[in-house]
Assembly symmetry: none
DNA sequence: CATGAATGAGCTTTCATTCAT
DNA sequence: CATGAATGAAAGCTCATTCAT
């Protein structure tokens, strides 16, 4: 008894719904049935668009990473000074997290257990975001175009600082008396202190 | 037919078991039935000691914070130099996280949804851990015993750096080619760069 | 929301229902939910009495084997002549299959896939039925109490003849124009022809 | 958007695939989707060639009976001695069963429930296999070409012995310490003892 | 303080099947 | 002749929770 109303927009609708539920109520509340109910199809239909639940989650992550990538890209467009580029990258990263909570949480809070089958290609793509940082860091050190491993390492540390700040905020572990903005600002500042001092390049 | 096994200490036994399961097999494996089986009582009995599963989780989190607290306390015992105290605090924090992976995740990353009913009193207690940092920071600034808000803020930023590094690692988001130890080391180093320079106090 | 009406007779009720469904509609129609519906409990309740579906099936088989065992035992009670004992065993076996179709099909038609975890102890018990045959065969050969491997082999062959006849009948593969009784009679006769000729013992 | 892959021979391809799946992985693995995937069409397409799954199964059974028929036919080709013909038939039958385990089960053990709609005509065809036996039996009795009902009955009994032996083996109900080959050999021997003694015809 | 029996809702996934195209 | 999208039913099983005893 299949009424075929070819709902071409089902896939994005599923992703939207999943993202919202994930943010609002966490992974445990995310079930295929629930998504189906919310978008108005049967659970079975979801399996026409995604191999399984993990596949759906991977699609979510992919989407999120793409958006983040784009936003970071735009943020440094036309900025020449490498130090300022770094700062812009940091602030843009925070903005993305705050304004796209849904995406951010999906990307970073999913348990590794569910990432086992995450396609290698996407992992590589994800690392692209860190290259932005690494390259800018190399530039700060006066080695534009000559990115070293240590730059990549530094990029990770900066990232960790940003991610830590953001996720403590998003999971509501911060002392409520704290000014969130000051906190994030300070975090960026400290992240940037990881940059090589500009004197090095002289 | 209630054979009263005089198990006066059931509550701590439940928590012990729950913690072990959590550390060893993660959140997904933590079910009331399973805890009951492992501890040698029925699932029903658990409800005599905990209102519901969230309540148990809250107790676990509380316990975890206490343990972390203790570990941090011990780590700085007898260390006079405030800078070294800070470093010890950082390293001790990382150790705790790495040795209690899944436990750490529950404590610091559990979705806010599950924390709705978490008692205010415990939140306050949790902040105690940050006071350690804040006080050491004040000491670094030559204001031992005179902790300011900005010290507290700085403590949060340091915490964010540590938490960010740890959770990127635990959720396996790091580039696999990276040396985890170098990364964590660098993160600590950068966290500490948030400390006021010792020159300030002159 | 558990109304505890302690239905002490649930376990046998489940087994009864399962047996009936199995015979009437085959394994594919046998589901936990269906059994539950029929006996008036929830599917979950079944799991209080049986570890899982296979466990339930094993219980069915066990029950069936016990009954068959008993019936065979009774059938030869007081019969001295070994040849007549054999015949009685054969006929009793057929009777059991025809009169307890439910049990018989359960015992022998379940796919090996589901038998993987069947407890060794029960297998041993099952072989007991064949010992009846083997011992009688030994007796026919004038070696009462001195059962040899070849007797055991012969017992298996006799069993195969009986089982083949019965199952072709039960699965309705026989030509409908055939007289079932003659067929079974003939099968018994042929089974017994596997017995050592009485002359041997002279 | 129907790209008409001129797959005129889809029906046999489906049957081939179904048979292979059946032999290799058993009934449980036999789903419409799976067949479709393997054969390179959609599940829907199967329904153009078969009313439903049972219909497909019936076709498989038919096919199986035909193959068995052919194999039996070949096995006695050129054999004159009626006794030897019988033996060859028996052994050929066993070979077929052992080499097509799961296939054999579907043909001869599928629950009657699934056979409700099995066309009468095919049943008649199936009986053809038994005629082989019956005719050889008549020949043994020196009545070649004059097949009697009793021969047909005897054929059934022989069949029952073979089927019983095979299915006890296939469903793994035999004592594992038993030599399967000896057992089957003995079963054939006993099946053949159902033949009229050659002396009778004098 | 503790239990045993039971519940209902929920889970992911698979299946045979149907419809408009 | 074939498809892609969709369906509803069902599967086995686990979970947190409750109630009478």
């Amino acid at each position: 008894m299949a009424r075929a109303k070819p709902n071409k927009e089902l896939r994005p609708a599923i992703l939207d719904e999943a993202r919202q539920t994930l943010v609002a109520e966490g992974y445990r509340a995310l079930s295929m049935r629930r998504i189906a109910r919310a978008v108005g199809c049967t659970a079975t239909s979801i399996y026409l668009h995604f191999r399984d639940k993990d596949d759906l989650l991977h699609a979510l992550i992919h989407e999120g990473l793409e958006r983040l990538h784009e936003q970071l890209l735009v943020s440094i467009d036309g900025i020449e000074d490498p130090r300022r580029r770094c700062e812009r990258l940091c602030r843009s990263y925070l903005e993305f997290a705050l304004e796209n909570r849904e995406y951010y949480e999906v990307i970073f809070s999913l348990h590794p257990e569910h990432m086992k089958r995450y396609p290698q290609a996407l992992y590589r793509r994800a690392r692209g975001n860190l290259e932005f940082f690494a390259e800018s860091i190399a530039a700060v050190a006066g080695r534009a175009g000559d990115r070293k491993d240590s730059d990549y390492l530094q990029a990770h540390v900066i990232w960790a600082q940003l991610h830590g700040a953001v996720s403590l905020h998003l999971t509501e572990r911060l002392d409520f008396r704290l000014s969130v903005l000051s906190f994030l600002d300070y975090a960026v500042q400290n992240a940037l202190s990881a940059l090589p001092s500009t004197d090095d390049q002289k």
